[in-house]
């Protein structure tokens, strides 16, 4: 297992260079002068423009820009945004916020999604099963931003239960956006678990376990559920990474100062170093969460081995 983990971590090296260079090249490909665009419809002086272009290496060809950036990264300098902020500071300030949001959503997804999936799977055809089917279908078919605005209007404005913007109210601020961010994945997770559970409950090994006279809770908990969770874990693992990215819309609607808003701003203003910094961090999170998933497989099903 140790060698496996090490090998997986080594894989991040080409992924790191590949992803950062790709992002750099894409930002580079956007036409137009970003410095001038930042100043808006009013021109800025030629000398100022030149100094700024030079400061951000915009006069260099793509490879040189990328080389300078990577060299900076290895000396601990992630570069700076066009407004003069250190990218490292931006990441340090914004990432925890998005992470908190994603984790809130993740917990909501696990608690609600798995509960709904188990209830529906165990009582196939019952009222609960139908309720889960209908409600998950509804949630999946509504776009996230619509769900966000409706949640704001109803739960925030009409009922006044939860804050609708910012993070000033502490952990409660994360509940509503967390739920909206989790909604779609929650529905998928519930349905995935339901299907998987229904299938496993019909499997031979479950019949064997039942006929051995094991209690139902043990049959379901130790045997059926354990096997049913494997595809769900795969999904959840990939989903944590997706959530970090999906936060772009949710953070915008709920005015959460996380990486979502920043990456949107940075892309539209062609700030290579900022985009690369955020994307790199996302890539690392994605790799790590998938690594955890793979390790978890081994725990859930000892037959799965990687050596």
């Amino acid at each position: 297992m140790g060698r496996y983990v090490a090998r997986r971590l080594l894989q991040t090296v080409p992924v790191f260079f590949g992803a950062t260079f790709l992002v750099f090249a894409m930002v580079f490909a956007i036409p137009g002068d970003p410095i001038q665009a930042l100043a808006g419809e009013r021109p800025i002086s030629a000398a100022t423009l030149e100094v700024l272009r030079d400061r951000y290496n915009l006069n260099d060809p793509l490879l040189v820009q990328y080389g300078k950036y990577i060299a900076g990264v290895f000396t601990g300098d992630l570069g700076q945004s066009f407004t003069g902020r250190q990218v490292a500071d931006i990441l340090a300030q914004r990432f925890p916020v998005t992470l908190r949001l994603a984790l809130t959503a993740f917990v909501i997804e696990i608690v609600l999604g798995l509960t709904a999936g188990i209830l529906a799977g165990l009582r196939r055809g019952s009222f609960v099963d139908n309720l889960v089917l209908v409600s998950t279908t509804a949630v999946v078919s509504i776009p996230v931003f619509v769900l966000g605005y409706v949640a704001q209007l109803v739960i925030g404005l009409e009922l006044g239960w939860l804050p609708i913007s910012g993070i000033r109210a502490g952990w409660q601020s994360y509940l509503l956006p967390g739920f909206v961010l989790a909604a779609t994945s929650l529905a998928y997770a519930a349905r995935l678990l339901r299907t998987s559970l229904v299938e496993n409950l019909r499997a031979d090994y479950v019949r064997t376990a039942t006929s051995k006279g094991l209690r139902r809770s043990r049959v379901v908990g130790r045997h059926a559920l354990r096997n049913s969770l494997i595809p769900v874990i795969t999904f959840l693992g990939a989903d944590l990474g997706v959530m970090m990215g999906g936060a772009i819309i949710t953070e915008g609607i709920f005015n959460i100062p996380g990486i979502g808003g920043e990456i949107f701003r940075a892309v539209s203003q062609q700030e290579g170093p900022v985009v690369v910094g955020i994307v790199t961090a996302l890539v690392v999170i994605f790799i790590l969460s998938n690594l955890i998933v793979d390790v978890l497989y081994g725990v859930l099903d000892p037959r799965i081995r990687y050596e």
Binding site: P31, G40, A46, G84, L157, E262
Partner: protein, 545 residues
């Protein structure tokens, strides 16, 4: 302390400045009518303004909080409170009102002497001197500092040399003593007084130059309000009243919190929920419902934000002024404003915006909707051949109205072959800069300071910094030069109007409309006033509880 008692009687001063009759102020008197906002031009009973309290107001994330580098409203609004310049702008008339300036004198509009007050201090207690201004201005121009407001000093003697890196200080600016600054300009410029109120001209304290990045986190200014904590990026900027501020009309509220939003829809809901007190500029799609949502707590203000369709006059198909006139007269501005902006625009009938006293409602003849004459003019000019490409920048909400304008050209001028070219802003500016536009293009202009000079010179003079039309008229250049050289401001205004007429003769662009800004607020604040720069005058806002 004398200062404190002065603050308490501010109610009367604020009301008087609004040209509304008010009874003598006194913070202890009961408030006459808490529901009344006493705001812009309403003929209702004036409410009494009281000092004290705290409120929150919407803002966007500033790009910079260094005055010499701040080019956009998000930063300037905040800096306007943290700093006091030589002049500020009257919220009603947009005229410059002296703050730190004692006097400004010149015989030829080229050599100026500014005398400043000696009783202002920065928030760290150090006095504001003539040198504080001179150093800040030289810093503004310093190429290594790369400040985006550098070119506001273009007509100062020595600007070129400093920008070229030959010297550190502009030869044309000097602090003669603690309270006297002399300014020498490269050519006469009568609107200097108005320009000196702009953000780029604020003074900086010594401490700023030690570490400009650290300074930006919590700027130490000389304004009515001082920073309370640091700039919390993307979240908020809090400020408290600076009680040592010696000027007229000190701030009313004890504390102001600028809450930073990325989506104004969320801000709108927050005002409804009561989590935000003032939203300056509601989402366009709320225009229709805002009256019902907010009733009395809503203010509409004219702004200088000007939208136009420019012509590439270097393209031969637009060479004939009658073609350009036809394009302008074929647009029913009123109909588009009602259909797309729910009425929240004011049709443009001039190039000098309605927020200025120099504005004339009937300056632009070709701005009246007259489809028949438009068609006739176009026919006589030989019609329009080929494809009409209409340019605008994408993702900024221009799609709908650009399409509506184009539809009117199709209907009223019979131009069937229309194509849209929508580009990212950076690329868009590149095309404009390079003169590679082949059809009418959308752009806007907002006044940084309230002079007709700023509405005309950068856009329409030969080689003007924002002259994307390629208009080169010696008549226009001469008239604007003449107006700039006229020391008497009233006299100069007439000449600016002549220049405006000369430009409208040429019609390098189609004036479309000026934005009307809708501001909403909670019932707990009153006296919410927005000025011509679209800044809510937060120092005059009164908190009810």
């Amino acid at each position: 302390m004398r200062m404190r008692s002065y603050t308490r009687t501010f109610g009367a001063v604020a009301a008087a400045s609004l040209l509304i009759t008010a009874c003598g102020g006194g913070g202890d008197d009961p408030v006459a009518d808490p529901g009344d906002d006493g705001g812009n031009g309403d003929a209702t009973e004036p409410a009494e303004q009281t000092a004290g309290g705290e409120f929150s107001i919407h803002n966007c994330e500033p790009q910079s909080l260094i005055p010499q580098d701040s080019t956009e409203v998000c930063g300037s609004k905040v800096l306007d409170q943290l700093f006091s310049g030589l002049y500020e702008y009257d919220p009603e008339t947009y005229e410059p009102v002296p703050v730190m300036a004692e006097s400004l004198e010149s015989d030829d509009a080229q050599n100026w002497t500014v005398t400043i007050r000696d009783d202002f201090t920065f928030h760290d207690g150090t006095p504001v001197t003539a040198q504080s201004f001179v150093d800040a201005w030289n810093f503004a121009v310093d190429p290594d500092a790369a400040n985006r407001n550098a070119n506001f000093f273009e007509n100062f003697v020595g600007y070129e040399e400093v920008q070229a890196g030959e010297t550190d200080a502009m030869a044309g600016v000097e602090a003669v003593d603690d309270t006297t600054i002399t300014i020498e300009l490269t050519e006469p410029f009568s609107p200097l007084e108005t320009m000196l109120g702009y953000t780029a001209f604020y003074p900086l304290p010594e401490v700023a130059y030690d570490d400009m990045d650290a300074f930006e986190e919590a700027p130490v200014g000389n304004g009515r309000y001082q920073m309370d904590g640091v700039w919390e990026r993307d979240q908020q900027i809090a400020m408290t009243r600076y009680d040592e501020w010696p000027g007229e009309n000190p701030g009313l509220a004890d504390r102001i919190v600028w809450q930073i939003y990325s989506d104004i829809n969320t801000a709108y809901l927050d005002v409804q929920q009561g989590n935000l007190d003032i939203l300056d500029g509601i989402p366009p799609e709320r225009e229709g419902a805002a009256d019902a949502d907010f009733g009395e707590d809503l203010i509409r203000t004219d702004t200088s934000s000007f939208t136009y369709m420019g012509f590439p006059m270097y393209d031969e198909r637009f060479e004939d002024v009658d073609v350009r006139r036809a394009f302008s007269m074929a647009i029913d501005r009123e109909a588009i404003i009602n259909a797309i902006f729910a009425g929240a625009r004011q049709p443009a009938t001039a190039l000098i915006p309605p927020v200025l006293a120099t504005h004339r409602e009937d300056a632009c003849e070709a701005c009246t909707f007259d489809p028949e004459q438009a068609q006739q003019l176009l026919d006589e000019a030989g019609g329009f051949d080929g494809e009409l490409v209409v340019y605008f920048n994408s993702g900024a909400g221009h799609e709908e109205w650009v399409e509506a304008v184009s539809n009117q050209w199709r209907e009223n001028l019979g131009i069937e072959n229309i194509r849209f070219e929508s580009l990212e802003f950076a690329q868009y500016l590149d095309l404009l800069e390079g003169g590679q536009i082949e059809g009418p293009f959308r752009l806007g202009w907002v006044l940084s300071y309230g002079s007709p000079q700023y509405a005309l010179e950068p856009l329409y003079t030969s080689g003007g910094s924002s002259n994307y039309f390629g208009i080169e008229s010696s008549q226009v250049d001469d008239l604007i030069g003449e107006a700039n050289a006229t020391p008497d401001l009233d006299e100069a205004e007439g000449v600016y109007q002549q220049a405006e007429d000369a430009i409208l003769e040429e019609l390098p662009n189609i004036p479309l409309w000026y934005e009307t800004r809708t501001t909403v607020h909670t019932p707990r604040v009153s006296n919410v006033i927005m000025d011509g720069r679209t800044f809510v005058r937060v120092e005059q806002v009164s908190v009810e509880d």
